[in-house]
Symmetry: C2
Subunit: 269 residues, 2 copies
């Protein structure tokens, strides 16, 4: 099989390389990936569902001519997007990184893009090396039906008290047991995480909630947002967030906000 | 048939009205419509293809219980979007406009939204009343694959001389015979139009070309943009635009830029 078979529409990419070129040196490659999660079951591989991980691994395996295992920074859920998902893989292939980037982008569907590939030291691990990651939750509070943002912004056509939301959010910052913001089927052992920052921006009828933490429990951002929206509607007192966290009870927190408003925005080292 | 049958998911809208209520007074209704044109053959009805006009007319006809004919400001092509398409229709129905807006939005797919409905004087005509309309063409000149903008912004990964584009655009402003910027299958009689303004904005790797005119020939904006991009690449001299317009020859102009970068942005009265 030649590389051009991997390209949609049979168009040859403007480069060639020896697919069998191998080196004794294993390179650790760090990829920055952007995706629209609308059509996927999430980042992580699942049986009988199409995941972003599966698509990238399968295509990289064909290009690099060996089985590829990706590690990723964020296990984004079905429908969740990423502006900056970080993944890494080890390869013995000699392919120049510029060519690898062109090759993988030419075979991935148009809702997934590899923005950058660089070689990193062997101890870099996309899952464990990041210090913090930032998720953004985007909300439109206007009354009108959304068209252009409909897949990336949650529609919440309600008047919100932004000061109350900002007040409530302050109680989340710091190192806490966040059991109350964890979905019941969360597989992680400890539910202690450190939230570094919550940034709440308003632009017209749009509200953006950026949460930076050293790690996130399953559905944590979406449950925090669902709870803060109840604060914004006046259904919860901002200061009740303190007791809620101390209770460690998921049942006392708000609803899980919809997946499509969530995006893995940035990863920090 | 009751109105709730028209609603997806069988959810009743939070209002009711007498569908047979009729008045002797015909009301002229002006609708502001927004749409993502990706999945349609364009605004205008066509046999064997799904148009935005057809979808809105069919659904309004069911809600108003009489045949509806829409007139529109811009006949946007397949894949072209609208932030502000203006349409009008006459109805004898007494339905309150707020209810009509809710009803039509609840049955239209999520890529079409009616943003506003108001009653206007009977001499208002969406096609002929507007003084000017503004189309925006959006371009991404960066090297990376686009994900989130891929359906709304044309990818043109080339270094452009923006000053040359601005210089070339000046020759287009004014009243001219724009035959050189008209697709050969254009049905209009005269090819004289007045371009009021061309506004060229750069934001990082994005370029926005807004063209305001009293009317547009078939594919006019897309051919102007395709020609200006050749000016920006240095393939054409900016001042050659003058001779090009005077030539009235479509064959001397540039390529027709892709449909998905184009959007009917605003209509002025």
């Amino acid at each position: 099989m030649v590389l051009k078979d991997l390209c949609r529409g049979g168009v040859s990419p403007p480069f060639t390389f020896n697919r069998n070129a191998r080196s004794n040196i294993m390179r650790n490659l760090k990829l920055t990936v952007e995706y629209d999660g609308t059509n996927y079951c999430g980042w992580q591989k699942q049986k009988n569902s199409l995941s972003i991980q599966q698509l990238i691994e399968d295509n990289l395996s064909k290009i690099l001519d060996h089985k590829v295992n990706l590690k990723a920074t964020g296990r984004t859920d079905a429908g969740v997007h990423a502006k900056q998902q970080i993944v890494n893989l080890f390869t013995s292939s000699n392919i120049p990184l510029r060519n690898l980037k062109k090759a993988i982008n030419s075979v991935l569907p148009d809702d997934i893009a590899v923005k950058n590939i660089k070689q990193v030291s062997n101890d870099f691990d996309a899952q464990y090396s990041p210090k913090t990651k930032i998720y953004r939750y985007s909300i439109y509070t206007g009354k009108n039906k959304m068209v252009f943002d409909r897949k990336y912004v949650a529609h919440y056509p309600v008047s919100l008290d932004i000061n109350a939301i900002r007040h409530g959010a302050k109680y989340i910052i710091g190192k806490h047991d966040f059991s109350c913001f964890r979905s019941s089927n969360s597989p992680t052992k400890t539910s202690v995480r450190t939230v570094k920052k919550i940034d709440i921006k308003v632009k017209g009828d749009y509200l953006f909630i950026d949460i930076e933490a050293d790690g996130f429990l399953y559905n944590m951002v979406r449950i925090i947002v669902g709870t803060l929206l109840e604060v914004g509607r006046g259904k919860r007192n901002p200061s009740s967030m303190k007791e809620l966290i101390e209770s460690k009870k998921r049942t006392l927190a708000g609803q899980t906000a919809k997946a499509h408003g969530l995006c893995l925005l940035r990863v920090k080292y």
